[in-house]
């Protein structure tokens, strides 16, 4: 019995992956996005192990002092920070923070948001009202001010950043998924399922959910972008995790040292990495956007 179910699921999974591959067919930009995100994911995993120095490892000369000239050299491709840390190592090590925060937040944001949207849209009534009111309230709260207050209350750390991002970003996904559910709900095949005696949960997760999946994936892609920028912003303001390193934090340090005018090697790489990662995530989103709104395909 259990064996049968496993092979069934394998088929479903293979079919699912096939479908996803179709989404990306011919979408050069989105495929490029996937590759770049993939590279960052690899860096996130192996990065901290292969870089020459630790992020907070001071490079000192034989006198125990930090060298004056911190510009890039053959030994330090991206040069040094004010305190003698290797910028290249910091940049690579930061991928870990970005990828963890980006992916986990994005998946959770959409998980929470989509489920709320499904339930709200399908059941309607007081549940819908309730969820919508909460969403309205969430919309009224500006993200960054709330984030820094919460970071101060919860303490600094990556997991708290993730919590903050999820707590404030689920709202857009909910609204959008709910709108889609409302249209899908009235379609004949749903009525047919109901008449056939399917339970509500089954209808929601077996019939409606697969149809909102492209929209959900679009929002995962977007949310990765938002989350990475959110973390960078929080860190830039000085509320990042002092024990780890992230691109936002690097920029925070450059600014605090007021060295961004001269030390271009220090403040350009982290920014460029953010641009690269976020843009790649948006490019991936473009492929799903074309699925959701076929009119965007050019004849």
């Amino acid at each position: 019995m259990a064996k049968k179910k496993f092979s069934e699921r394998a088929v479903v999974l293979r079919h699912f992956l096939h479908e996803q591959r179709e989404v990306f067919r011919g979408e050069k930009l989105s495929i490029a996005g996937l590759i770049i995100v993939g590279i960052f994911m690899v860096l996130a995993i192996v990065g901290p192990h292969i870089v020459p120095y630790g992020p907070y490892e001071a490079i000192v000369d034989e006198w125990g002092l930090v060298p004056d000239n911190k510009a890039p050299s053959t030994k330090h491709w991206f040069g040094l920070t004010r305190f003698g840390y290797d910028v290249f190592s910091q940049t690579i090590a930061s991928s870990r923070t970005a990828v963890i925060v980006g992916l986990i937040s994005a998946v959770m944001v959409v998980f929470v948001g989509a489920n709320l949207g499904l339930l709200s849209g399908y059941f309607g009534g007081w549940l819908d009202e309730f969820i919508m009111r909460i969403t309205d309230i969430a919309y009224g709260i500006p993200f960054l001010p709330m984030a820094i207050v919460l970071m101060t209350l919860l303490g600094r750390g990556i997991s708290n950043v993730i919590i903050v991002v999820v707590a404030l970003f689920w709202r857009t996904t909910t609204r959008v998924i709910r709108a889609q559910v409302l249209t899908i709900k009235e379609r004949p095949f749903i009525q047919a399922a109901r008449v056939a005696g399917a339970s509500d949960l089954r209808i929601i997760y077996r019939h409606i959910a697969p149809n909102v999946l492209p929209m959900a994936f679009l929002y995962v892609a977007l949310a990765v972008g938002w989350a990475v920028i959110a973390e960078a912003s929080i860190s830039f303001l000085g509320f990042g995790d002092p024990d780890s390193i992230s691109w936002g934090q690097m920029i925070h340090y450059v600014f605090a040292a007021q060295m961004f005018r001269q030390a271009w090697w220090w403040f350009l790489p982290p920014g460029l990495c953010i641009v690269l990662l976020v843009m790649s995530a948006f490019w991936i989103g473009l492929a799903y956007e074309k699925v959701v709104n076929p009119r965007l395909k050019i004849e």
């Binding site: 009224g140 920028i229 830039f236 271009w264 948006f282 965007l296």
Partner: protein, 274 residues
Amino acid sequence: MMMKQFGLDQPKLTQYLIYMRNLFTGEFGISIRTNQKVIEMLSGKLWNTLFMMGSAMFLALILGVIVGTVLAWKRGSGIDTGGIAVFLALRSAPEFWLGMILLVIFGYSLQWFPIGLMLTPGTHYTGFFDKYFSWDFIHHLVLPVFTMTIFYLATPMLVTRNSILDILHEDFIEMAHAKGLSDGRIMFRYALRNALLPVVTIAPLMLGFAIGGQVLLEKVFSWPGMGRELVEAVNSMDYPVVQAAFLFLGAIVIIGNFLADVLYSYLDPRVKVG
């Protein structure tokens, strides 16, 4: 004795009522850090923030709609793909970083604009209008507003473009062509007019994020606004100031939402307010 001063010896309900009354009369208490009345500290900062954010949002919306319309018109061409690529790239960059880059190029290297602050230190102003409508102020305003505008431009631009492309498939557009109306008139009076509606819907969302942008850019450009006060207050655990600053920023979002609703009902005759 301090309990009595802050009314903490009263029952909870009374405390709450006093709090609400204070809120409405602008009585926000005393800053723990500076011992000044909070309302005095913050009132000036509110205008600084509003001017910067207001100008940037206004420009971002107007320019975003115009650029979006042009891109929709030139759909598929190099201008279209190029335009989208450029603004998407700008949107993917952390805006504080963009601000820093612009500061280095235009402030330090070219020296066209001052390096932060709102007004040249030491100058004296006689009043509200004199201060905010002086060349000095505008000179200082350019870089921060420019940074914010090019960052936030992407959203209304994409929404407008997609909205117009959708609308161009509608039957009333074909009818407009059949009536012999010119392309330009159709684009602006028929397509754009209808495409504005989704833009007005997303404007409040932009506002929520724009406040974040404002906080960040106030740090980069040392702009003496509400955002900077909030950050400093949070860092020094100055609760009354945190509360007040947060309230002001939240109020901006809510009022913005309200204005957007009003504007929407004006633009769409199918919707009535209330």
